[in-house]
Symmetry: D2
Amino acid sequence: MNRKLRMGMVGGGKDAFIGAIHRIAAHMDGLIELSCGALSINPDIAKESGEMLFLPAARTYLTYEEMIKKESELPASERIDFITIVTPNFAHFGPAMMALDHGFHVVIEKPMTFTLEEAKQLQQKVKETGLTLCLTHTYAGYPMVKQAKAMVASGVLGKVRKVWVEYPQGWLSKLSEREGNKQAAWRTDPKRSGKSGCMGDIGTHAAHLAEYISGAEITHLCADLNTMVEGRALDDDGNVLLKFNNGANGVLMASQVAAGEENALKIRVYGENGGLEWAQQEPNTLIVKWLDQPTQILRAGGNYGDRLSSFATHNCRTPGGHPEGYLEAFGNIYRNFALTLSARIDGTTPTKEMLDFPTVDEGVRGMAFIDNVVASAQSDVKWTAYKVD
Amino acid sequence: MNRKLRMGMVGGGKDAFIGAIHRIAAHMDGLIELSCGALSINPDIAKESGEMLFLPAARTYLTYEEMIKKESELPASERIDFITIVTPNFAHFGPAMMALDHGFHVVIEKPMTFTLEEAKQLQQKVKETGLTLCLTHTYAGYPMVKQAKAMVASGVLGKVRKVWVEYPQGWLSKLSEREGNKQAAWRTDPKRSGKSGCMGDIGTHAAHLAEYISGAEITHLCADLNTMVEGRALDDDGNVLLKFNNGANGVLMASQVAAGEENALKIRVYGENGGLEWAQQEPNTLIVKWLDQPTQILRAGGNYGDRLSSFATHNCRTPGGHPEGYLEAFGNIYRNFALTLSARIDGTTPTKEMLDFPTVDEGVRGMAFIDNVVASAQSDVKWTAYKVD
Amino acid sequence: MNRKLRMGMVGGGKDAFIGAIHRIAAHMDGLIELSCGALSINPDIAKESGEMLFLPAARTYLTYEEMIKKESELPASERIDFITIVTPNFAHFGPAMMALDHGFHVVIEKPMTFTLEEAKQLQQKVKETGLTLCLTHTYAGYPMVKQAKAMVASGVLGKVRKVWVEYPQGWLSKLSEREGNKQAAWRTDPKRSGKSGCMGDIGTHAAHLAEYISGAEITHLCADLNTMVEGRALDDDGNVLLKFNNGANGVLMASQVAAGEENALKIRVYGENGGLEWAQQEPNTLIVKWLDQPTQILRAGGNYGDRLSSFATHNCRTPGGHPEGYLEAFGNIYRNFALTLSARIDGTTPTKEMLDFPTVDEGVRGMAFIDNVVASAQSDVKWTAYKVD
Amino acid sequence: MNRKLRMGMVGGGKDAFIGAIHRIAAHMDGLIELSCGALSINPDIAKESGEMLFLPAARTYLTYEEMIKKESELPASERIDFITIVTPNFAHFGPAMMALDHGFHVVIEKPMTFTLEEAKQLQQKVKETGLTLCLTHTYAGYPMVKQAKAMVASGVLGKVRKVWVEYPQGWLSKLSEREGNKQAAWRTDPKRSGKSGCMGDIGTHAAHLAEYISGAEITHLCADLNTMVEGRALDDDGNVLLKFNNGANGVLMASQVAAGEENALKIRVYGENGGLEWAQQEPNTLIVKWLDQPTQILRAGGNYGDRLSSFATHNCRTPGGHPEGYLEAFGNIYRNFALTLSARIDGTTPTKEMLDFPTVDEGVRGMAFIDNVVASAQSDVKWTAYKVD
């Protein structure tokens, strides 16, 4: 590849949170440039945002339909390679399908769609087109998460017995959706967010991480979803018991009313011989506990050679002690997507480390998680079998 | 009180773990002396242990029956004030009832009895005799646990919404009961331990702590109990969803197969305005998180005056930065029991801080927890109502 | 500013460490583009590196002289705005002077020059030209370092009494410079690194941080510099007692033979009313200790409003709990430099938050620190007065 | 030994801090009983304290002279075995000498005496009498300190290069000695405390720990002692550069004006292959850093077998995860002293683990440290050679 990949952004105007994050993540490694955008449904904001981002006026579009159509008419040497979709959940499916239909690859925020049905349609479309869809489950981009996955896969911990994932946040402890908080407004609105609030927003991250690291799949769950703040339209808290296909049990706890917590995603996995502990707020450390020897502290760093898995070191930009964080984890998703895409464009084979980013399949599984957890919460029976189809 | 209280010990011979802990806890503050013991059902061990503990041969008894009978015949100026029972669970009820019948106060290990029925009989007997029974739920003896309870009670956190208690240990990750580990042998044996293993041994501590700090009572639970090590006779792991009588929800997780963990009891309580976090392995710190101000680190210490509740400072022996630990928490149970008993003997009124130790009522509730959690685990229905009667 | 700033890089070819870091930092916020480079003194590496970075062949120069000359001849709409110098210390001065002479602004790695004399010449040149020179004292770019500085400046801690800064690394614990480690080779070579090894490489960071946060200046020092690894040509370890112009005392410890340490820069500042503690490896936390109230944990995050100083929030890209790290701190230096430069180009006034990046004055002070600390180490007298002129 | 050892206490009346600590430490293991006391120079407090401690009136003495004399006249089966001295520094020497002269062993608080000269006289007297003197350098009683010492001694870290010990406290940040704080009053009074305040009170602990763990001796020091609070008569803060007899360098920092700190003694020792880190406020953890493998977390616990040195496990009362603290460390000093004394009384040989408590020799060295550090502080020459004679 002798050039940067060209990206078009859907959503992410100047008043949006996650769009700015995506741009930093995409820019960081010098592999991707922002070439155009349909940055807001508000034309003024769209234009103003385009200027702030130094986009040419001609490529500051007012709708995603316009963007995809016009870009597809540009010469190959100019038009975008992929679009990235950073709108609220209900507005993921439309641009994703249209982009795939016009030959563009796609990066998309999680949860992937508004409904499981949409997710399956996207999965089918990706299959048909052979294009690449990348889902930004950010937390799977951290080096020490990849190290954890690699250690479990290597068998060094023995058979996994227990997976325990927690995701407490406190930012919805009040009825902020009624007090002008835009993030709160759409995320607690069933028409924009979907059938679950907390579980859709952060529970899906926790479920993905649990399956990603353990290498096992949830087969049954028992959910207690709660709306702790009076007047709220969706769940803002939930506790879920889990069973996995390898015999392990688990607990998933997610809450957005854990007052005083920031973004305290944490996972522990215990096998026959030891356990792993990783916390997102101190992401460069992986605590490895052993039954028969002292606890070890593994640290992220590109300089650790064989001490870490190649999946971990591939995703480090700095030597140990120079902390990387959330933006770099996000950047790793983009970087691996970009390296994979560049390899495919060049006709070469991406390495297994490059290919390690979430795809449409994880997107379908995430939407299924939402469906299953809501079904379980509504059931009086203890265990609900996890269905995808 | 112008003398130390005199204690007789049932169990706790030289090969026992918890008996030695009780002695340190009882001796620490110079309020109690060990006067006699029925230290082992093995006569040789009983005698040898008595000698090691500098007990006179005449007060080194071979059975608890002998001890209680002979001590009750001694003059008041010599005979013991109370017995302490540190035998395995199945052997709690007999000496406790007999002691109460002979006018001796009782200190007893948790879980209080072998069955809920026994627990209720003890409760009735305590009521009838007016004697004092103290249950050694050690973790409730830590100053910062008392601080947490006091803060919740004060209302400063607002209404409690969420209680999350975890208790991972790793020491039963292998089938140690078949490898000569005596602790493992009796604790995994239904005939000596009772109808639950992990939940009876450590789940009861977690449940007690959850109710003690939150000031709320569990009304419903949904339990998943597991035996993760093949060949084991009782549960060694479990996850329990909780509902409390104040509307809060919760999760209780206890495991003895969390390989690599020591004794990692931890509790988090979230209210409308903030949350508390306390971890037993770093017990002198209470993390207080707030919705609208920075997290605070409260530290144990007798020198902190109004910064801490009187319930916390009463239970500190050192100024901040001179860490107290498990033995001091245990010591606080004994110390408060001793101060209360001395006050009652002297005809004075114990302070509310002295009275703050677990009693027969908590013992009944702990046995009910075991019954309820086992019933729920055997049920296909999601929620089991918590019954005591 | 309606475009990105254009940057030319001196050094930073494909085998270099810090050049890659500078590019990530410069790219991250979409304010700067890499337009040309003199990336290596090895022509093959220079060309290959240019290709990897997608630079046009015409702007892949072989020497910095060529780059500065040719770029200065390009039309204003194409030529670079500034150069960034990421070569070893001995090769900073030449390109910096030449760039300033040709009207280009400069970003430069620390320590700024090879000698104090060069540093003063650069300072004079900056003064004469009115151009902007930015020194990448990365650690001053962290939000919570800025918060610490702001809190000291506000007086809330009272008069500063004690500054204690430590910087242990372990990577030079062996004679790695003889084992093919290029980083070790030049950093321990007096001809390329300067008159001090450890103190020049990391001691200068520590000294800068001490003065930056405390707002005070070192007036006297007493240094013990050591070469702990036999055969090494420069100091690899040192302990320095400090006196500040406000009456505070201090200790600066830096070591590159603290085996097992990564990059554990940490600073503590104590005033009459409380103290601050910040550690680079967990950079999003600032611990604030108080004499008369509980310790507080301040956390980085763009969402904390008045809880943090505007200097801190201006340098956050994410809300609390989404950890930013070393690359973002580095990015903040570039971002503030870019915002300042853009404002100046646009003829507007940069805010005080934008202007908060290290300049040529800090560069002179850093070179003076090296001179003074080496002079003190060679002296038998306890205190050496800190001289700049 | 078929009985408890009998202890007489000098000082430690009801208004004293450290006396209560000594009693808890002595009582904890059931090896020692308090038999008599000269608890205060105030007769009313002496009597009241004796009653509170359940001492017989006949053995509640008003002066240490009376106590030592009368006890020495009691029959061997009743009289005390040793005295423990918990008075302010200036009042250590008298009772210690008189006790030794009357055949009693001695436990004594640090610093051992008021002057180095007194310390040497005590050392001579101990030599002559063959009696045992135990100095309560509490921090050397922690299991993980002993583990650290054992690891250094084993050579596993290679040659020690660097010792870094810090001891920040904040409790003298104000002129508390003028505000009724009795502890502050005597500890800052040259007539009661000696020629140094902070260095005598806590610097001696730090110096002892540095030599104890490293197994090396300080040969030179360069001290900066400060009085940061106006009006105070002694140093309340100091920074000291160190040289050791094995070629290692070091820093010792002690402060009592580090506002917001509790009792944050911490030591780091680096060798050629790795480093150790231990912090008193989390005393059950020893962090072991390695050059060539991940950091390990060693934890105290009597159940860890060969994972820990016998010196560590001998000093643990609980299994891992049941935290022991300051009182247990203190208790270890008493317990080892008691076991050694019992062995000697019984005519058996104490084990090397029992013998591992500070003696009169460490007491002399501690007094020499005070002399040397004060001499260095008053000198303009950088390095002061450490003299004992």
